[in-house]
């Protein structure tokens, strides 16, 4: 949902297609065969290239991960030495799986351009001093806010490029305007070129590019985005359970989310609602038990019984894994719903609880329920009845108790032996 980072390769392809630029970027992964690359892209034989990881992290130059002005053979060697190996970027570790290779464009000037979606409009920044040191030369940065439904006007553009020599102004301002148009047409929320330059023929060439897309606009951009991938942040490997829930989520109009925080955690949550789920997680952390929290997750938007069942089963499976004799807690929480039928959503959860009865006992899981909203009385009664039926302790609270009241109870339970 909302803003998603995409790979530099995809970003360049999108912009190149929209602006009619010839960028010739090549994506390299474990599947890439360098032999056939040379055949597919004959220009590689007599053009020097740049190669670098394409994994949503920055500071590649500072981390010695960019090979500039090199041959295809050396680029291949560089990639093969690193592909699949773990790298550490700003404290986050992960394997390198994607690289981008493109023609090396000799240049002297490095410019900075960014367009950022803000509440007031699109904030356009340009600096004649781009590249690694853009931050140290912040004074040269010119920024203008362009209304959402407009493009920058001539005066505004001239102000942005005022630091450029006269002969370069027209070219640069034209390019900035085109980028603003592309930004709007392609539903970008961020476009950053740090740096870009002009090649020998005077064509703009982004040396480095970052793009974030507004994925809620995907229904308008099926063709234009052309199957663009939304990768996980660098170093964030999805657990199989997370992948599974992601799959469930994509198939339904409802919302089902799961992030595993600590597979060995002893407090697990199954909370209804995007807002409430954050508060439950907050409260566990605020009470000093963040490291015991197994997961973050939420279900909302009226999932049907089957979806709720599959979601609940996934969490129960995680929560009851490798019993160690020490007590665990499951929070089935939620606020006072506006319109969700509480009894109905509990049905799927109850089915999952029944199936996991033995595992729950083995893992010494105690269940805490708190919920309100339409038909909550029936829902809570169902839960109460279930406790005695399963022989699993279930404590049940309604809107008369505060939403997070069950959190300290769960913590007390897992503190005991």
């Amino acid at each position: 949902m909302a803003r998603k980072k995409i790979r530099e390769y995809d970003a360049k392809m999108l912009v190149a297609r929209e602006l009619g630029l010839d960028l010739r970027s090549i994506q390299i992964t474990a599947e890439t065969d360098f032999q056939s690359l040379a055949e597919e892209h004959p220009w590689l034989a007599n053009t020097r290239v740049v190669v670098k990881p394409d994994m949503l992290f920055g500071k590649r130059g500072k981390n010695n991960l960019v090979l500039l002005n090199t041959t295809l053979a050396d680029a291949e060697k560089f990639v093969k030495e690193r592909l699949g190996n773990e790298a550490e970027i700003s404290g986050v570790k992960g394997p390198l799986t994607h690289f981008i290779m493109e023609p090396f464009v000799p240049h002297e000037d490095e410019y900075y351009l960014s367009i950022l979606s803000t509440r007031e409009g699109n904030s356009v920044s340009f600096s004649t001093s781009g590249g690694m040191d853009v931050e140290s030369d912040w004074g040269k940065m010119k920024t203008a806010t362009v209304p959402v439904d407009a493009l920058p006007d001539e005066a505004g553009l001239m102000e942005l490029v005022s630091e450029l020599p006269e002969d370069k102004k027209k070219n640069a301002s034209g390019f900035i305007k085109e980028c603003c148009q592309a930004f709007k047409n392609l539903d970008f929320t961020l476009l950053e070129m740090n740096p870009f330059t002009f090649d020998a023929e005077g064509n703009p060439f982004p040396l480095d590019m970052r793009v974030e897309l507004d994925d809620t606009a995907s229904f308008k951009n099926m063709k234009k985005w052309n199957g663009v991938e939304f990768p996980q942040p660098f170093g964030r490997k999805l657990y199989p359970e997370e992948k599974y829930v992601k799959g469930l989520d994509e198939k339904t109009g409802a919302s089902l989310k799961l992030t595993v925080l600590n597979p060995r955690g002893r407090i697990w949550t199954m909370v209804a609602g995007g807002g409430a789920s954050v508060i439950y997680t907050d409260t566990v952390a605020d009470l000093g038990f963040g490291e015991e929290l197994g997961n973050y997750g939420e279900y909302s938007g009226n999932p049907n019984e089957e979806e709720t069942y599959l979601y609940a089963k996934t969490i129960l499976d995680l929560a009851t894994r490798e019993p160690d004799g020490r007590p665990r807690a499951l929070l089935i929480g939620g606020g006072v719903a506006n319109f969700t039928d509480v009894a109905k959503t509990f049905k799927g959860i109850i089915r999952a609880l029944k199936e996991c009865r033995e595992k729950l006992k083995e893992a010494r899981v105690r269940i805490y329920v708190r919920r309100g909203g339409p038909n909550y009385q029936t829902g809570l009664e169902l839960m109460k009845g279930l406790g005695s039926e399963l022989g699993v302790p279930i404590e049940v609270y309604g809107p008369e108790s505060s939403m997070t009241r069950i959190v300290p109870m769960a913590i007390d339970h897992v503190k005991g032996e």
């Binding site: 986050v92 609602g273 605020d286 973050y296 006072v336 339409p374």
Partner: protein
Amino acid sequence: MDARIFSKDTQALIYNFKANPVQRMLDFDYLCRRDKPSIAALVSPGSPGGHHKAFFGSEEILLPVYGSMERASRENPHADVMINFASFRSAYPSTKEALENVNIRTVVIIAEGVPENEIRELTSLSRKKGKLIIGPATVGGVQAGAFKIGNTAGTVDNIVACKLHRPGSVGFVSKSGGLSNEMYNILARTTDGLYEGIAVGGDAYPGSTLLGHLLRFEGIPEIKMNVVLGELGGRDEYDIVQAIREGKIKKPLVAWVTGTCASIFPSEVQFGHAGAKSGKEAESARAKNRALKEAGVVVPDSFEGFAKSIAGTYQGLVSKGVISPAEDVEPPEVPTDFKAAVKQGKVRRPSGFLSTICDDRGEEPTYAGIPMSEVIEKDYSIGDVISLLWFKRKLPKYATKFIEMCLVIAADHGPCVSGAHNTIVAARAGKDLVSCVASGMLTIGPRFGGAIDGAAHYFRDACDRGLAADEFVEEMKKKGVRIPGIGHRIKSAKNPDRRVELLKDYAKKNFPSTRYLDYALEVEKYTLQKANNLILNVDGCIGVLFVDLMASSEAFSDEEMKSIIDIGYLNGMFVLARSIGLIGHALDQKRLKQPLYRHPWDDVKYAK
């Protein structure tokens, strides 16, 4: 933009309406003892319009439905709120239209997932027009005792428990719509209740902000203190800090920003709301809570302490005399919805209809208890399906084969029989297929195709009573009743009906017994002495053979057999069979583009 957007007289247009939120709004209106419902009209885009029935208390009222926003507003110019239930795909054009409409001042967008560019454009338009957008991705909001948006605050019980049917002294704004109801619950327990509450929605750039509503609340004297529930991501809370510093917000404020847990996540995390994304330290919950606290806002240490902070601030204002707690008001009783009462097991109602042959409610439809997959996988024939749906049992194969033979044989009998003729005439008059077929069907009766039941009835009765064939014929003659199933206009003993021969042969070979057929043939022998064309015709043959089939299969009791004959099962067989032929005739005429038929004058004797 005015500080007050709602009052007890506010009326809304509901775009792309759903029945449930409409009813919930009307229930709220009734609880508040509003004079008029809060809904002026409904818009069902592209529909021809009409009326929607809903309850106002125990009385049913009609709400006008229009096919366009423009028309709805023209006919209801006093309605100044548009509640937009359009999907994220279509929220943009409908919201734009509403903003451009002179009558509308406030638009609420419910959909989640409206593209950022679209909502930013709409927001910019609303600013130019001096209008207000609430949402997207929200449940809406409520002004206690006056006006409630859509599904906000849920059920009648909850509205009363949260004292939302009468105004209190607290203004409330949150990002989350889901939590707003939880907060109304907290406010009812810790204060004299809500005055107005708005959920601006979980998007990064909602149409109106936390600050926008707080500034509005400054201008509403009944609001004595404000409560804000923010969340991590974005900078809205800093705008509040800024406004406090500039003296634009003077009323006491209690706030909590959720998302303090973000630091325990392994990498940046996107929470349930689009706007709730961790990343920059300044946008973290901790930083925002700290900034609010430093600006003098009452900020608890955790959400668990929020209620206490609210109660403390409220009590302080009461003891200072700023707030004189609102009186509790007894709301009128809203009748329980029938569906809800059934769910709770509180009422029962005898059903109006009864059905025993099939069930379409489960995972797959069943015919007489047999699931559709079995019907298909085990190759049930049309005869088998008729045995299930008509006779509610599986009949042996020879019997269902016989049923099919009857259907095949009776499917058509040429264009000249009266039913087919009527179908053809109707088709040539340009009528639609159903009318043509019905025209032929309605011809079926005692003289055309309708003799099967009668034949079955009389032959069975006579045979069972042990009447000799001649006695039976004479008895019928005395009664003045022609024996159904005997006689043919064209066929005769010398020119037998091939169809009858085929049926008789099959029955002789396959039926355990043909007692009734044998009896009918005895009767035929006797009638043929009277006239050459008094043969057992195809209707009669089907009739008696059905009696044989039922009697010899031992699948039916005497009572059942009698009922089957009495209520017209066997004519049903003819109707079903002949519909095949009649459809054929109708299609044939249409394919041939035959002109209107007019009967020639000379074929009619015009008599005085």
